[in-house]
Symmetry: none
Subunit: 212 residues, 4 copies
DNA sequence: CATGAATGAGGTTTCATTCAT
DNA sequence: GATGAATGAAACCTCATTCAT
């Protein structure tokens, strides 16, 4: 009888190990970013914190950019799932609230990390590569729902909603806020307030600073 | 022998020649930042574009940080003047619109520059040093005006308004928008919408997603 | 993120290759110091003479200071061993002569290097970090021996003996002396002469300029 | 009648002013050296502390070296006077004590300055230029006096005496000693002890570690 | 003469990336 | 594959010195 050959694919264990290495690298990247900021975010530090050689880092991520990108994707994943779940809601405003809740939760989980990644995302080289569409796609769909005010320029409104959410939520992170419910309420106020007032319609203009 | 590099100008330019040098350095800094982004923003490039020796840069700015700070101050100056002018307006909503108009104008003048400086401003080392109070102080005063809805938490509201304006306006800059009036209208929608909905009061909560 | 540059080696050389690199760097540092003096002692020159990239230098020595310190330690090591061996001598004066012989030998091996390192050692930043205790500790012990005159102030005497030895020996190095025996004899004269005359006792004061 | 020509040489007032400028520069140099050490000793700092433009510094001292040299000379002057006065003493030992007293006093006046200048003096470029002979010349003469033990090698002895004095006295300065009498006593012990034991003669060799 | 603005060679240090083991 | 030693371009910053005003 020959040596019992493994039934699992030969590559399997290696892949499992690879998975763990990649995961370790991404988490290390997150921690380095949080602990030392953009200025202290370098590949040697990440590899060291991950407990792997610098060579291994480059085995899985061909460049520092790729690592940053990987981190963005990892951080975006959970959020993307929740964002898509929002689409299940019956009416647009409920869905939008779910989406906002997801964004707020994401931010409060690791505020500094989220903030720094937001900043990074605005760099031209990365902007192209980041899908980012998840949030955007969902918002785009929701703004079409009947129960939400129709917007003059759909695309601009989608962008603005994203910018508003990101703006408030990152600011809260910078200040170290932790009150999730309160933050959610304020973001909702900004988004729904915007949607109502920015919507087209004859009276909206005069109404903008409205009494009360 | 300070270890923390000084951020204040090393020496006030007394002669006309140095005035010109400082001005050239700041303008060069702005251009380098716009043309090559944060990554390409280095003191050698700035000096070269300014047409002065690297030593001259360090005569007036004791560190790269100080140069960045100087640029922020220069860019903020015009805006600060307009922001203060807003206080002359009789009622709060008019003043707020003036303020927003100033912010939008500032952004559209040199969008990429404004955006990058906004990002830089969030760096912990600079946050402390930047006055930044101008915008914040004005908003703080305006939110106390009788014609604007009283906010639950004044300080948070001030921060949120700032974040909303910055968020939308930077986003617009990123996309290369140039329609000043339109942008102004959208920012107003977000800000006034926020103020109305975030204000405390029994009905606001239920009102958030409003009908229609 | 320490602001005060670390003086301790950044990373212990584990592989044989790094051992050689570190050794090459230290020897190169010694040679540069000898050949070009303090003024010409810069990290680029050291790396170049060592035949390694400048980056390698900083892998092992986190700063120029650390390199200097490393050199001091290397040069001190052999001497420290001999100094400790002196303690084996039965009586104090014999031990002291052994110690002096060691100091003289060390100096004549690489006179300029020894002299420059002596000078460097007096710099406040390095004084703290250098053990230096070896010589001092041994002298301190020896001055307590019964066959050597008891000193008024033990600590001062220890310091003075060190200063005398260093003074004469560095001076000899400066002049390029090579007569080891003669130098030893003169240092002994100074040290033993000092110990006898500086010792407390009623007559020592009047005796200082002694007859003939 | 022509415009009354000044009776004082045209240059006179300028020379007086020059004198003051030079004096201010030298004192500033001393203070900068004391306050910031060799590392912080730069011509711009000296000019600033002297309250004159950097250009003026270079008017009077063609290089940094020249300034250092000037400082050495200034600091040496008072000492040189006292040293020469020592020659008036009737017997050699008294004269030597006067000389030592002068050296000690000089050191305790501005210890850090004296120490740093001693170090500088050992730099090859300056060694040549510094007279330094004052002290050396006087010692050389004194060692020839009949009441002091005749030395085997006159020149070496002169050097050694200088090295001993400098060594002890600089060490005392480093430690911040202020007890002038005590320091004088110890230097005398070292010098006279050296002279007695290093002197040639049949018995001195065996006597070196002396009984008791 | 005095000034101080300007200069730039040169020094220290970092860090993304490669490659021999 | 994994490792980590090695690399060097490039960044920041200093300071002796010059020279136009």
């Amino acid at each position: 009888m020959p040596r019992t050959p493994s039934l699992t694919p030969r590559k399997a264990p290696r892949q499992a190990r690879s998975q763990r290495t990649v995961e370790a690298l991404l988490e290390a990247a997150a921690q380095v970013l949080e602990a030392r900021g953009m200025a202290g975010f370098n590949t040697n530090a990440v590899a060291e914190r991950a407990g792997v050689g610098i060579g291994s880092l480059y085995q899985y991520f061909p460049s520092k950019e790729a690592l940053t990108l990987g981190l963005m994707q990892r951080e975006g994943e959970r959020f993307h799932a929740e964002a898509h779940a929002a689409l299940q809601q019956a009416d647009g405003s409920a869905a939008l609230r779910v989406l906002i809740a997801a964004a707020v939760a994401q931010q409060l989980r690791r505020p500094e990390l989220a903030r720094l990644l937001d900043v990074e995302e605005s760099r031209p080289e990365l902007r192209a590569a980041v899908s980012k569409g998840a949030f955007r796609a969902v918002v785009s769909e929701l703004l079409g729902r009947a129960d939400l005010p129709r917007q003059r320029d759909h695309e601009l409104a989608v962008s603005d909603v994203g910018a508003i959410v990101r703006g408030i939520v990152d600011g809260a992170g910078e200040r170290g806020e932790t009150d999730e419910a309160g933050l959610r309420r304020r973001v909702e106020a900004a988004v729904f307030g915007y949607l109502r007032l920015a919507a087209d319609g004859p009276e909206s203009e005069s109404d903008i600073a409205g009494p009360r």
